[in-house]
Symmetry: D2
Subunit: 285 residues, 4 copies
């Protein structure tokens, strides 16, 4: 929408009150700035107002972004996060031995599909190290076992902190992050689960799906929370299967789903299109 | 979004200019009215601004709607149409002998899916007359042949005029409306074409699709214009077929597509969610 | 495939053994009959062979069907069911007050989409009686309450028995059939559940889906068994939703899913395309 | 279905005659071999019988395959092609500067998704040479211009011949192959076109789609023939777009379609699941 111009993108939410659209847009207009896009949503049950507004600033973007934040918080009493389009958040990829989401995500970053910078790979196995190096990406091998988990997570936090990571993507990472880790890491963590949640949460979802005899399999991208597979859902998709499909076929078909659903979630997140509340997402796409 | 409250819905478009979102929302806010939803779009190539805004009026809806129209035209120099939610446009259904879209559309009106009132049926055949009467709907049998077309269209215009029809739905009508008719009728005409346009325009699209060996068939709802199957597209969908499917199978599968695509188009139109420009549609859904 | 010719359709399954395809097809060929279609499946884990074979008989269909049954059971040691295409099973529709699947299913029977005969309507409410009469269908009002359930089911069984019903379709019936009923009724019962099973089994699935914040809703047609929502799945489909959709929107969107998924299941069942084993279905489509 | 066992896969077609299923299956059974899967189709209009049959041979696979070929041709008078599962056809990838299908196809070959061997890359540009080398694949840079086309095609034919290529995949190759090339090359050529054919054939289909205002974009995999974009269609898929999507968005969304549709076509082809006749495909999946 605004590919070559620098823009400010704000995500607001808070109790609904009359005139919010007008007050926000007027603040921007009266400053001489130009709204590119504004989208809002009211949750009538919860009486919450949500807005995503993107505009081309008239002056210094950092200053204007800070002023806007202050305005929204002080004058409107709402929560707000503000991003500047030229600032590209640093992303870390958590992987294991499974490589399809690994390659797919990296190639999409290389193709410019995501408004962020892929900074480093963290893995519980060293099998993708050579491929990561080929892509020119730092690769951190941090094995995790039941005994060493606490220690390993400390090492992961150290690496993420040092690299200034602002978003973690679990590309079939196959480990559960501890509450402690999630509390400490201080940035969103996007996970891909290989089922249509809430169906088939937990381990071996394709085996579960095959056992139950469903006619569609799915994939779900969500923000990781302390409760496994119960975080706010960002995106989901499904594909058709039939009685001829073995578990191996489900795994193969599922790979395509996992790649595209995860990619869509990363793109929406880095485009600042997602607001989370009540363990659900508002996705302004 | 605003099911139990009366709202005003405005559709605006015109040359883009700074502050449009702010000026529109402020006009509403300063009047003491409350925006329920506002969505806008900029066509950056054509430099056109489009907006759909829905609000709960603070005073008399008719007066407020008229004032808003004047404001948009005079002060903003834009085109605008305004609807009041309690006013339900009168719809006429044009049919032939084919009955699946006929039943489906009527049952959806009965189920309250559409923000309009189904007023009458016009048909080139009398085969659906008994069913129409069962539904309690006036049925006008107006046969059309090459020789009588001009005359028949005059009769149709008379019926539509008398009934105060504000929207025509061609539910597999199987006739092309003349330029003259379209110029005279003065209301939108929604048509369903049984292919994924622009593929397989014209007659017997399922036969064409079978002949070409495509793996998906589609349906397209569009506004009828003087050029057959070339009007602005409102909605499209497809379904998968394979080599086992005969033309009869395509026709059967296509019926479901035609029903759901036409229904979606009627709903979007009667909810005032569609703006037309450059033979394309902006659909605010 | 064989629209104007009488055919025999057999569904076989049993332990795999060499030469099954050859022995079955040769039996038919040597009798001078002509195979229209044959499809088979092997479950390599369970070592079970499944086949659907459809052929044009050379002699009296009833005699040939009976001979084939005997051949399969005695010579091949497999289970088999055989149908003759001109025999159209009698179907009963179980409904409540909800009417969209009621109308849709009846209209599809009228349009000739199903290889069966709709014989009667049984309902827990009398609200659809007038519509049923308009369609020319016998309507049996059998109210069901916790106290009268056993008695009501006896009455239902009596009606079904008298009408010679061979297949029951629950078109949003909103009641659980007792184990006793299912054991007594002696014919397949197709149910439509308004979620993507196994997600959101039980009551109010759209409310559950809205609460969880999923991005797709689904519908599932399955054979009813003693365990609620756990019977063999016949067909499933989903549609996309977003944060703007209220529970009422989910219900509206879901209606289209329920109609098309149920219709597909009825069609597959009446075309003798479904084999059940291990609480799963093999669907030869 | 038969992952660890060597199988023979035969594709037959020819005029329908009574007993074909029986005669083919009996030939295999009487030899002591075991059918894993058999699927057939009759085109009732054209009176052609098609079959794909896969079995585990009882003796030497080469000998049994040759005997079967002779049987089908001489005794049944039908056309037949026979493959042995352990023989993995050599595939060449034709590319240009566009890299998404290039990476995706190579990674799928590496992941073992295809029953073939990727042998070499031919490109009109040298921009993907380094990536090809990283993947360990021979890269042949053969620039093509209007003047040098005939010469370049000779060079391509020489490379393909030397490498023993049995299938060519055009992964967004952006060049039209001449009739001469297609006549000479003697192996199937799979192409991916970035539209839902027959809509938007020719150049710049995403621009055409944007201009027409369609609500879905598609991709089509087909066998290349002398007539551009008119070859037999193997697979198609679509994705939803809306008025907010620029041509750049269509291109981005289309990349995912192109990758998955091309991959599906390659997989079906290498699994010997496709028969071509009357410029259409029978796909036994």
């Amino acid at each position: 929408m605004s590919e070559n111009q620098e823009t400010i993108i704000a995500l607001l939410h808070g109790p609904d009150q009359p005139g919010l659209v007008s007050r926000v847009s007027s603040w921007i207009f009266l400053r001489g700035s130009n709204i590119f896009h504004a989208d809002q949503h009211k949750d009538l049950e919860a009486n919450i107002f949500f807005q995503r507004v993107e505009w081309s600033p008239s002056g210094d973007p950092e200053k204007e972004a800070a002023d806007f934040k202050k305005f929204v918080r002080d004058d409107l009493g709402m929560e707000v996060s503000v991003a500047i389009s030229k600032e590209r958040p640093k992303v870390a990829l958590f992987v294991s031995k499974i490589d399809h989401c690994f390659h797919d995500t990296i190639l999409r970053f290389r193709a410019g599909e995501f408004a962020g910078e892929l900074t480093c790979i963290l893995s519980t196995h060293d099998s993708l190290e050579a491929d990561a190096r080929t892509y020119g990406l730092p690769f951190h091998y941090v094995p995790v076992s039941a005994e060493t988990k606490a220690e390993a997570e400390q090492e992961q936090l150290r690496i993420l902190n040092e690299a200034g990571v602002e978003c973690i993507v679990m590309a079939r990472y196959m480990q559960v992050l501890s509450d402690h880790f999630l509390a400490q890491v201080g940035c969103p963590v996007i996970n891909i689960h290989h089922s249509f949640l809430p169906a088939f949460a937990g381990g071996k979802p394709y085996h579960q799906a095959h056992q139950r005899g469903v006619k569609l399999i799915g994939a779900t991208a969500h923000y990781a929370t302390a409760v496994l597979d119960e975080g706010p859902i960002i995106h989901q998709d499904v594909t058709r299967i039939n009685h001829r499909n073995s578990v191996a076929d489900l795994i193969r078909k599922g790979r395509d789903l996992e790649k595209s659903v995860l990619a869509q979630a990363i793109r929406l997140h880095l485009d600042n299109r997602i607001l989370v509340y009540n363990n659900k997402t508002v996705v302004f796409d």
